[in-house]
């Protein structure tokens, strides 16, 4: 046991003393320098500066858009023609809108009417199926 441990220590010491020799060191240095000179270093700080500038300008743009919408912008309304188009497209019961008596209809109101008419239709369907089953 002790003999093998001694052998191991002896071997490690011998290997440690045998430094591998780098023969063509100058050539290797030249090759490294040639490679490194071809590499363009981009400093991290420059990249971060660019990212910071782009993200802050995007944030300012979004913020101003939001403020414009909240304060300055008119509510989105639809004209008669476009209202008809919307009604046709989403299948709103136009009576619902006429009952409200609005010439200029807010999009939110259109959506509410759409929901209401849908719920009415659902109820009708429900009662119809119930009457059939009974």
């Amino acid at each position: 046991m002790k003999n093998i441990d001694d052998k191991l220590d002896n071997l490690i010491t011998n290997i440690r003393r045998q430094k591998p020799v780098l023969h063509d060191a100058a050539m290797l240095t030249d090759a490294i320098m040639k490679e490194t000179m071809n590499i363009k270093r981009t400093s991290k700080s420059t990249v971060f500066l660019w990212i910071r500038a782009i993200s802050s300008s995007a944030a300012i743009l979004l913020l101003s858009l939001l403020l414009f919408q909240l304060n300055g912008a008119e509510p989105i309304t639809s004209s008669d023609y476009s209202r008809q188009l919307i009604e046709n497209k989403i299948g709103i019961d136009s009576l619902c809108l006429q009952n409200r008596g609005n010439k200029e209809v807010n999009l939110m109101q259109i959506y509410l009417c759409h929901l209401q008419s849908n719920s009415l239709k659902n109820n009708r369907l429900k009662s119809y199926t119930q009457s059939i089953t009974n």
Binding site: I4, N10, L22, A25, M33
Partner: protein, 181 residues
């Protein structure tokens, strides 16, 4: 090279001074080559690794913190590259180990005799080829490069306990091999 001179060279290199960087390469390539050769056991692979290491150093020099020891930082880069090489499929080569050289080295008490690189590579390969990459790296850093455990912790990112257990297992495996000589 003293610390202030080295820091001066690093500062100049950060400002793209190629002469300063050449001086760093000239002063440290032997250290990186020794580590790479002892881990990869092959001259060509070791040279490639030296080149890759210094290219990485050049690219990441702006991120180097002067409060950290430069050689430790260099060892970290080289060790990580060695680990990648050891894990890669291309590195799985075979040596026809000459038992005579190994026997001679085991029984020799004086290290006056110098052996050529290829023989040294064969011997280290014969001893360490069955170690896991981590064991090989820890064994090389501690037993052959004679680094302190604290420095190996910084280089490998392993805990002292893990380093010691890897070292123990590496020694056990090599010891087993030596039983036949």
């Amino acid at each position: 090279m003293n610390e202030s001179a080295l820091n001066e060279l690093i500062a100049l290199s950060k400002r793209n001074d190629d002469k300063a960087f050449r001086k760093i390469v000239e002063d440290y390539h032997a250290m990186v080559y020794s580590l790479a050769f002892r881990i990869l056991c092959n001259e060509e692979d070791a040279k490639d690794l030296v080149q890759e290491t210094f290219i990485k150093v050049w690219i990441n020099l702006s991120g180097y913190q002067p409060d950290r020891k430069f050689s430790t930082w260099l060892y970290t880069i080289a060790t990580n590259l060695c680990l990648d090489k050891l894990k890669s499929v291309e590195h799985r080569f075979q040596y026809n180990t000459q038992d005579e050289t190994l026997k001679e080295l085991v029984s020799s008490d004086n290290a006056e005799q110098t052996i050529i690189n290829s023989e040294l590579g064969e011997i280290i390969y014969a001893l360490t080829n069955e170690l896991t990459p981590k064991q090989k790296i820890v064994f090389t850093l501690r037993s052959l490069e004679e680094l302190e455990i604290a420095e190996i912790v910084q280089i490998t990112g392993l805990s002292p306990t893990k380093i010691k257990s890897n070292l123990f297992l590496a020694r056990q495996a090599i010891r087993k091999k030596l039983e036949k000589y």
